[in-house]
């Protein structure tokens, strides 16, 4: 549809991009020590690994601390409204399949206000990479419970005494809804995250990457995640039934690729079949 000027740099071979070349230089608003810094680093390193030229990549987000990430990248970006990053990215990717489209959310943005879009994005299986920075709370609005908060987390300001309700399990729901690639990484471990993010971007269809990204301001206990996480003890499966059993018993701390499906991505063919509107107008002729 659109003629673009960019080239794939690794093919052009003219210039090698380093991780820092993907940074916009804009100073993040994040609190010192926020897990999202690590995610930003992992993302720039991944893009450098892939040698994608920045204009060939669009990073789309909603609203939240985590959703601020596009402005810190030198790619195209869209910082939209709360909860609607996935449909915005869907519209972009479907009409511009040549772009590499990465979608960034928080647990509130993605699983609460944007929950319905999450289900349907998994189902639709457009070739997107969805990274969700989960800190089990709403950081930007100053520390309320989110769908992934533990039921007995008492510090949520609207839920004194804890939410008392079961947390949402994004990976189980993602699998059941049709996500084609499911992984978890630690936001504070770029070396571990980069190879998995790379696979997620390269895997066709909808890739879901759950990122444990601690909020040091509203839940310092999350600093412990670094010590608690472990490599998933088993290889990624492409059998959804097996993946379902594993994910149902998963304690949120297994890292790695957890499921790799082979469903065909959704992508309409954008080749024009007619070169004039007259063909369409004929149907109205009396």
């Amino acid at each position: 549809m659109i003629a673009t000027t960019g080239t794939h740099l690794s093919e052009g071979g003219c210039q090698i991009m380093a991780a820092k070349d993907y940074k916009s230089g804009v100073k993040p608003v994040w609190c010192p020590g926020c897990g999202d810094y690590g995610v930003l680093l992992s993302l720039t390193k991944t893009l450098a690994e892939l040698q994608l030229s920045p204009e060939q990549v669009s990073v789309i987000s909603g609203i939240g601390c985590s959703s601020r990430i596009p402005a810190y990248l030198k790619t195209f970006g869209f910082h939209g409204v709360h909860g609607r990053a996935l449909p915005l990215a869907t519209g972009l990717k479907v009409s511009r399949p040549d772009q590499t489209v990465i979608v960034a959310s928080g647990d509130g943005d993605g699983f609460s206000i944007g929950g319905n879009h999450f289900l349907h994005a998994c189902r639709r299986n457009v070739n997107l990479t969805y990274i969700v920075m989960d800190n089990q709370l709403y950081g930007m609005t100053k520390g309320q419970a989110s769908p992934t908060s533990a039921p007995d987390w008492e510090k949520g300001k609207l839920t004194p005494g804890g939410t008392g309700i079961n947390p949402f399990h994004p990976l189980v729901v993602g699998l059941a809804s049709g996500a084609n690639f499911i992984a978890r990484v630690s936001g504070t471990d770029a070396n571990g995250a980069v190879p998995i993010l790379k696979q997620a971007i390269e895997h066709p269809g909808f890739s879901l990457v759950h990122i444990l990204s601690p909020c040091i301001t509203y839940n310092r206990d999350q600093l412990e995640w670094k010590k608690q996480v472990r490599q998933a003890p088993v290889e990624a499966t492409s059998d959804p039934a097996q993946a379902a059993r594993r994910l149902m018993t998963d304690d949120n701390l297994n890292l790695g690729v957890l499921y790799k499906g082979n469903r065909k991505p959704y992508q309409p063919d954008l080749k024009a079949q007619v070169d004039s509107l007259e063909v369409l107008e004929e149907q109205f002729a009396v």
Binding site: T5, E55, A71, K271, F284
Partner: protein
């Protein structure tokens, strides 16, 4: 009134095929060289309940239904009285059908003639009552058998030769039976002169016309969530877009459909969605995002009775307020409205072009009366306007996505353009797009977004202006109310009274100078609209200084405003 025409309604209960008969009658009238329109009305059943096909046929294009019906033709009378308010009859009207018509009709009509269509159908092998009705109606209005034969062939051809011949036999039986009807003088259509008209004619609904206008304007991406009465816009676009190298995606809800088109547009593809009031309400937050991020989108709202779920199958112009004022913050955007079924093509096309040019959101207020009415109209020429977004020709280090230009329009880079990278944002931002809460940055961008609209020259397309240059009375209206108002004004003019009609196609941004010009010499203004609270009237009072007496004629749905309603109000006042 001034246009010679005949109005006929066919009614029947579930499964009687009355809509098919109506569609074929309209199509046959088109074949015969006539113009016309058909509105459908149905009971609350999703499928198969009682229904009425209301037609007006004429030798000239018609824009609105008449005040009354010449003929009420019943295949049966089951529950037909539910349509009484929509089918006014008078002493000159004729009722045709089996047995006694419901009292409410019989008492109003001058004549009643019993004709048992189902019984006639039984006398034909494979005969169908609705095809008999088609024959009766064709005979009454004076359509040649050949025109009917052509449409029967087209409609039933794929069901085989037997179906075609049974259909035609039924039609002939109906035509034969109609010979027994009393002669009927109000059939004023001049058949001889007009049937030879060679002018290219279309059979199109307003919703299809919006779809066509969209693709003419360059739309190649659409996201869709179905809702009555807008669905046919989307249903027409679904197979059309892939042919043109575009795509339509069925979204999970309107929150998704509107943001999907923002994504499509961000990628450089002119993008659109269509909905009705409840969907428009859901879309508001993201329409604001399109305005703030200066990402062009077009949202067609095919209005229905509101508020809430309201009356999904009936028209009302009551979404004007939400379209004008529904966005939070100061969010200047475009609001336009097609005036006729044919104008749905142009207004949608123009809206796409404007949204793309001005990098903002355009809301197009069509309505059920335009959208779901099917009409025979002159072919709508392509005016040749196509979306042209300003894209930076060259890009360097200093590129600013939201640069403050003289026109207020900032060249917009497209993903893939090296050096054009920026982060679109709904947060208040600097010219480069960086979030900023500084007063200067906020004011600069707000001024820019306002001025790019207010500085733009919208040309004479802003309104249709008809009637006398030296009139002292004007009718001021918008959108689909134009049809009835235009007939009323023509009727007054025919009586030698001077009246002017101004029908606004562009509602926002307001055009105070243009309106003042068009009201030169006018001392009385009648504001005509289909709403309960006078939304248009109040909007005019807020946005325009009108140097004349102004009176509001605001009539809520679900019944259409009729030409005689406008004429009566006008005559009483002037």
């Amino acid at each position: 009134m001034t246009v010679p025409s005949i109005s006929i309604t066919m009614t029947g209960s579930g499964g009687s095929g009355v809509m098919t008969a109506g569609n074929l009658l309209l199509e046959a009238a088109g074949r015969a060289g006539w113009f016309g329109m058909m509105t459908r009305s149905a009971g609350p059943q999703i499928r198969g309940g009682e229904a009425a096909a209301m037609l007006r046929l004429s030798s000239e294009p018609v824009l609105a239904h008449q005040d009354r019906y010449d003929i009420l033709l019943g295949i049966d009378w089951k529950n037909a009285d539910r349509f009484a308010a929509e089918i006014p009859l008078d002493a000159d009207s004729l009722i045709v059908g089996p047995g006694e018509a419901p009292a409410i009709f019989a008492e109003a009509a001058g004549q009643q003639f019993q004709l048992d269509l189902p019984k006639i159908a039984k006398s034909v092998s494979g005969g169908r009552p609705n095809m008999v009705a088609l024959g009766v109606a064709a005979a009454i209005v004076g359509l040649p058998e050949e025109a009917v034969a052509q449409v029967i062939d087209k409609a039933l051809g794929r069901k085989g030769a037997d179906a075609v011949s049974a259909g035609m036999e039924s039609v002939r039986a109906g035509m034969e039976a109609a010979k027994a009807l009393p002669s009927f003088n109000s059939l004023a259509v001049n058949t001889e002169a007009e049937t030879t008209s060679q002018e290219a004619r279309w059979n199109i609904s307003g919703n299809e016309a919006c779809g066509l206008g969209a693709v003419r304007g360059g739309v190649r991406f659409v996201a869709a969530y179905p809702i009555t009465p807008a669905t046919e816009v989307l249903e027409w676009l679904a197979p059309a877009l892939p042919k043109l190298g575009g795509a339509l995606v069925q979204a999970e809800d309107e929150l998704a459909s509107v943001t999907q088109i923002i994504g499509g547009s961000f990628g450089g593809t002119p993008s659109l969605t269509a909905t009705s009031g409840p969907g428009l309400a859901l879309m508001m937050e993201s329409i604001g995002l399109a305005v703030a991020s200066e990402t062009p989108i077009v949202v067609i709202d095919v209005m229905r009775g509101g508020p809430s779920t309201g009356i999904p199958t009936k028209s009302e112009q009551s979404d004007l307020n939400i379209a004008l004022y529904g966005l939070h913050g100061d969010a200047p955007h475009l609001v336009l409205a097609p005036l006729t079924i044919g104008d749905c093509v142009f207004t949608t096309q123009w809206s796409v072009v404007l949204a793309e040019k001005l990098q903002t959101a355009a809301i197009v207020l069509s309505d059920q009366a335009l959208g779901q009415t099917r009409a025979i109209i002159p072919r709508q020429q392509d005016v040749g306007m196509v979306a042209e977004r300003e894209v930076p020709a060259t890009l360097d280090e200093d590129y600013q996505r939201y640069a403050n230009t003289e026109s207020g329009i900032s060249p917009m880079s497209i993903p893939g353009q090296a050096g054009g990278q920026y982060c679109a944002d709904g947060l208040a931002h600097t010219p480069t797009g960086l979030p900023s809460s500084k007063a200067d940055d906020h004011h600069l961008q707000m001024d820019k977004r306002l001025h790019k609209l207010t500085n733009y020259e919208f040309s004479s397309h802003w309104a249709e202006i008809e009637g006398s240059d030296d009139a002292e009375v004007a009718v001021l209206t918008w959108g689909s109310s134009y049809g009835a108002a235009s007939e009323a004004v023509a009727a007054m003019q025919a009586e030698g009274k001077k009246v002017r009609l101004i029908a606004m196609r562009l509602l926002s941004p307001a055009q105070p100078e243009k309106l003042a010009d068009s009201l030169q010499g006018i001392s009385k203004v009648l504001v005509v609209e289909q709403s309960h609270s006078g939304q248009f009237y109040r909007y005019l009072r807020a946005q325009y200084d009108i140097d004349a007496q102004v009176r509001s004629m605001a009539v809520p749905g679900p019944l259409a405003i009729r030409p005689s309603d406008v004429l009566k109000t006008l005559s009483e006042w002037s």
